[in-house]
């Protein structure tokens, strides 16, 4: 299973902050995972679209589209940060 986390505006738009996902065979990278989630349609299609300014982390480290994703990973999606 992959643990998926969503934060802030994204969490509200998707209506969930966390889910467990059985790793699909086609999904080996962060980019592929994002495309997989976009195929859910609706808010998912909109929020996960390639043009959206979305950040992600794999196992709590900032990640890019080609970052590998494996079973047991924690993957988080979130908007650009605005702390401080």
């Amino acid at each position: 299973m992959i643990t998926l986390l969503y934060f802030a505006r994204l969490r509200e738009a998707l209506g969930t902050g966390q889910e467990q996902l059985a790793q699909p065979a086609s999904v080996n990278t962060l980019g592929a995972l994002r495309a997989h989630l976009a195929q859910r349609g609706g808010a998912w299609a909109k929020e996960m679209a390639e043009g959206r300014n979305l950040r992600a982390a794999v196992n709590q480290t900032v990640a890019t589209a080609d970052t590998p994703v494996s079973d047991g990973d924690e993957v988080a999606f979130f908007p650009p940060v605005t702390g401080g």
Binding site: F7, R9, A57, Q60, P79, T82, G83, G84
Partner: protein
Amino acid sequence: MKVRVQQEDFDVGTEIAAMRRSRPKIGAIASFVGVVRDVNDGDSVATMTLEHYPGMTEKSIAAIIDEARGRWEVLDALVIHRVGTLKPTDQIVLVIVASAHRGDAFAACEFIMDYLKTRAPFWKKEITPQGGRWVDARVTDDAAAERWQQPVSKVK
């Protein structure tokens, strides 16, 4: 070097006193406090809610402090960032850097704030008379963080 993410308020004087205690090599302590303003982007702000990514937030800040330690002489550093709901005039964030010399303390403190703004996973939602809205990332914050990429002159 300490990182705390908490709902509770903090007291700068208490934290600086703890840092100074029995540390006679410290000659300079620079600190920064971020405060909730009552106006942002032209709208009045009633409250603000801060969300973070438990675990990654603390690790990100620790990495920012480590990077500062690699660039300047840092004897000690502390970052406290509040989460939850805050109102105007409330304290949001505290950065303290202790060094032998003031140039290092100032530079490392400002560096940590600039990087924290653009790298640490926190998100702000403001409640204004028009309703709630997530604060957008600022281009000026990216610019502030990016200027540290250039060589930095060291003044002690």
